[in-house]
Amino acid sequence: MSAFAQWLAATSGSIALHESLYMYPLVESIHVLTLCVFVGLASVLDLRLMGITLKRVPVSEVARRLLPWMIGGFTVMVITGSMLFYAIPIRSYHSLWFRLKMIMLVLAGLNAWVFHARVWRSVTTWDLDPVTPKPARLAGAASLVLWACIIVTGRMIAYNWFDCDKPQSSFVVWAAGCDAYPKR
């Protein structure tokens, strides 16, 4: 993987994006502002699942109406996020925060998958309930917490506290894979 990141960093597209004056900030701004669309609307669904807001609206109604926007927002986040990684591949791959964020993303995906495969099956029996069954409330809360962690760890990637190009504790060296980090 580290070799792949190093290969990616040497491609002309990566260098162009990395060195561009406006393209990189523009992509990052789109990445950040799309949070409002994706996480903002996902939070509305999560809060409905937790029985906190829109209690009189059927859960399936909230999901059906907001899901297309969430999918659209998520698609933009993935595309712009991939571009940000493409622009700075080596440092990102060896970033502790980036790795934490990716783990959290996988967990958020698992949570959504389990929710869809297990909890959502019985939605017709609790669709109108102001306060949903416990598994649904748990899934909503887990989603909220995970996305909050993804936002925070994502923001922290910008800080170089745990970067491999300076002395780090053995834990960070292990967790960020600093041994494979290219020496200058």
Partner: protein, 158 residues
């Protein structure tokens, strides 16, 4: 006058505390970002509804009423974190063009949201024609988008 105020801000205890801390700025900024997602959701669900998207089966009034506590709550968090962020680097902000764009748009967005937009979304849906709802939403989205985009750009300048 204005510059005097910014210089005074530079001398506050909050400025020193954040400027001398390794983590404070990053932590406050992260909370600012979390509240961005929240306020984004609270604004979007109502504006989308006025544009005929999203929760179309519910009345604008009902959607707006549900979103209101989240709008106010996240705005309070935005201000409570945004002010210390500003205090940590007032000089940079003073010379930052995006900062002034953001503050202008923010003042307009807050004034607009709690007067015209509030009046329209609190009224019975039938009181205004759809075009009025759409215009109300478009102005709101434009103002808040400017606040967000200019806010992000403060970090890129200087």
């Amino acid at each position: 006058m204005v510059q005097q105020f910014f210089i005074w801000c530079e001398q506050t205890a909050v400025h020193d505390a954040i400027a001398n801390s390794l983590w404070a700025f990053a932590v406050i900024e992260s909370i600012h970002l979390l509240a961005l997602a929240a306020i984004g959701g609270a604004v979007l669900m109502v504006d989308m509804r006025m544009l005929g998207m999203g929760l179309r089966r519910q009345s604008i009034q009902e959607v707006a009423r549900s979103a209101y506590p989240w709008l106010v709550g996240s705005l309070v968090v935005m201000l409570a974190t945004g002010i210390p962020l500003f205090l940590s680097e007032p000089t940079k902000c003073y010379y930052s063009y995006p900062f002034w764009v953001k503050m202008t748009a923010l003042a307009l967005a807050i004034a607009y949201t709690f007067t015209i937009r509030r009046m329209v979304t609190r009224s019975d849906d039938s009181r205004f024609r759809p075009i009025v709802h759409k215009l109300t939403a478009l102005v709101s989205l434009s103002l808040w988008f400017t606040v967000g985009a200019a806010g992000r750009w403060i970090g890129f300048s200087g």
